[in-house]
């Protein structure tokens, strides 16, 4: 009797393990499937309700985190303030340069959208729990015109792109996800490269494959390149701000052709985002 029970347990365990491997093999790299779309459709209203109900509790916990963080930042900010005061003498020149950069980028930080795109606003209702995936679920889907590969931004800059869509929700793969790669350029140098994540640290992206002859400096802005060839083109329109160069050691630029970027968007704390639907991608 006992042996039979042990044998049955082993069989169930083996079945579950084999089942997991089979599912992994079938579904890896194939995007969303019918099961996932069905489950998402059923659960997205529940998630929306749970998201709304739990928001006060989330805000409370996050307030503690931000308070601890703010204390740590205080001394650094004071030092930065002293430096900023010193630099204030050259503020007019900096403003003029800023205006030139904005003109160059055709960027309106107050929220203008690239021409041809229709923005759809969505709220983050779920988030991946592991450090290995950087995905969020938003409460806007194909019903609102959202399609796979639509770029996603927030008030600060590029957030990611839509990787799967159901009727009322969409999965957004953030630029910090291991599968993300965004063609980008540094302004005003126009040095181009590919922005890739540094898994586990969403505050640090890597601009890879840059031209090592163009020396990039800390503080320079990085925007989407939005390239286009005859048949294919980037998923992202040009000139969406991604972040600024945080570290750019000459040695690393020449040896590895890469610099480190701090994204403008706080990828750990996303709430409202805009999906740029439509556009000219073909």
């Amino acid at each position: 009797m006992y042996r039979k029970q042990v044998r049955r347990r082993r069989a169930v365990l083996a079945l579950l393990i084999v089942g997991s491997f089979v599912l992994l093999t079938i579904t890896y790299g194939s995007g969303s499937n019918g099961l996932q779309r069905g489950v998402s459709t059923i659960f997205s209203p529940v998630q929306s309700v749970a998201d709304g109900a739990l928001k006060p509790a989330r805000d409370l916990v996050n307030w503690f985190d931000q308070t601890f963080d703010a204390r740590g930042r205080n001394s650094r900010l004071q030092e930065e303030l002293r430096t900023a005061r010193r630099d204030a003498v050259g503020a007019d020149a900096a403003l003029a340069e800023n205006a030139q950069l904005r003109k160059l980028l055709k960027l309106d930080r107050s929220g203008a959208i690239p021409s041809g795109y229709t923005p759809v606003t969505g709220r983050v209702i779920a988030r991946s729990p592991t450090v290995w995936f950087s995905d969020v679920t938003i409460d806007a889907g194909s019903g609102q015109g959202v399609e796979v590969d639509d770029p996603v931004v927030n008030g600060d800059g590029l957030v990611g792109k839509v990787s799967a869509v159901t009727g009322g929700s969409a999965q957004v793969t953030l630029i910090a996800d291991h599968s993300s790669a965004v063609t980008a350029k540094v302004v005003p140098l126009a040095a181009q490269g590919v922005v890739r994540p540094n898994v586990g640290d969403p505050g640090d992206l890597i601009l890879d494959f840059i031209d090592s002859t163009k020396h990039i400096h800390k503080g320079q802005a990085v925007v989407t390149a939005g390239w286009r060839s005859q048949e294919i083109e980037s998923d992202f329109p040009p000139n969406i701000p991604i972040g600024e160069v945080a570290r750019a050691p000459i040695v690393e630029q020449e040896a590895s052709q890469q610099v480190h970027i701090r994204p403008y968007a706080d990828l750990r704390d996303l709430d409202l985002v805009q999906i740029l639907t439509g556009g000219s991608r073909g």
Binding site: V46, A126, H178
Partner: protein
């Protein structure tokens, strides 16, 4: 674990509620820039209460639901969580839980195992990017969160599933006889 329709319904509610709570709350809050991971703790606690089969099956179910809702490749989270639940159940079948510290300590250790497992699955599938050293810090802090969450979740689940727990009945002390005149 004695599985009746009522207990099965409770288990389904626990699994679904746990996954919704994780995605809508725990994944969206951060302490020290790290979000707590409730799901391994849930699976470990169920494994400790119900044994290897309960741990493995609930781990598999939680993983499938998680992968469905996050539109990730199916099977990755299931594989890791079923192994985690199975190990917790194995501990329950081989050893006695003498101290109140055992469940939270097991939650801490096996959560670290689960998080490393998620990483191993990712590497197995081919992660072609740099991995920050902060991952190690995040994993350790997640394990500490699991230690803190472990005891209340274990107690809550034991209360919710008490009628189904075999040993709870077996070791329950008989009521002390009333001594007349004492």
């Amino acid at each position: 674990m004695i599985l009746t329709p009522k207990i099965l319904a409770r288990l389904v509610a626990i699994v679904v509620g746990g996954v919704i709570l994780q995605l809508s709350f725990f994944s969206q809050v951060a302490l020290f820039h790290v979000s707590p991971d409730l799901l391994p703790v849930l699976v470990i606690s169920l494994g400790l209460l119900g044994g290897t089969m309960t741990g493995a099956v609930t781990g598999f179910s939680v993983g499938i639901l998680l992968d469905c809702l996050l539109v990730q490749p199916l099977g990755g989270a299931s594989l890791v969580l079923l192994a985690t639940g199975y190990l917790a159940g194995l501990f329950r079948e081989r050893f006695e839980i003498h101290s109140a510290l055992v469940p939270p300590l097991l939650c801490m250790g096996l959560t670290l195992f689960a998080e490393l497992g998620f990483g191993a699955v990712e590497l197995m599938l081919g992660t072609d990017t740099a991995v920050s050293g902060q991952v190690v810090r995040d994993l350790l802090i997640k394990s500490v969160f699991a230690f803190v969450l472990g005891w209340p979740i274990y107690l809550g689940l034991r209360r919710a599933l008490r009628p189904a727990l075999v040993e709870e009945h077996a070791v329950r002390r008989p009521r002390r006889p009333t001594m007349l005149g004492a």
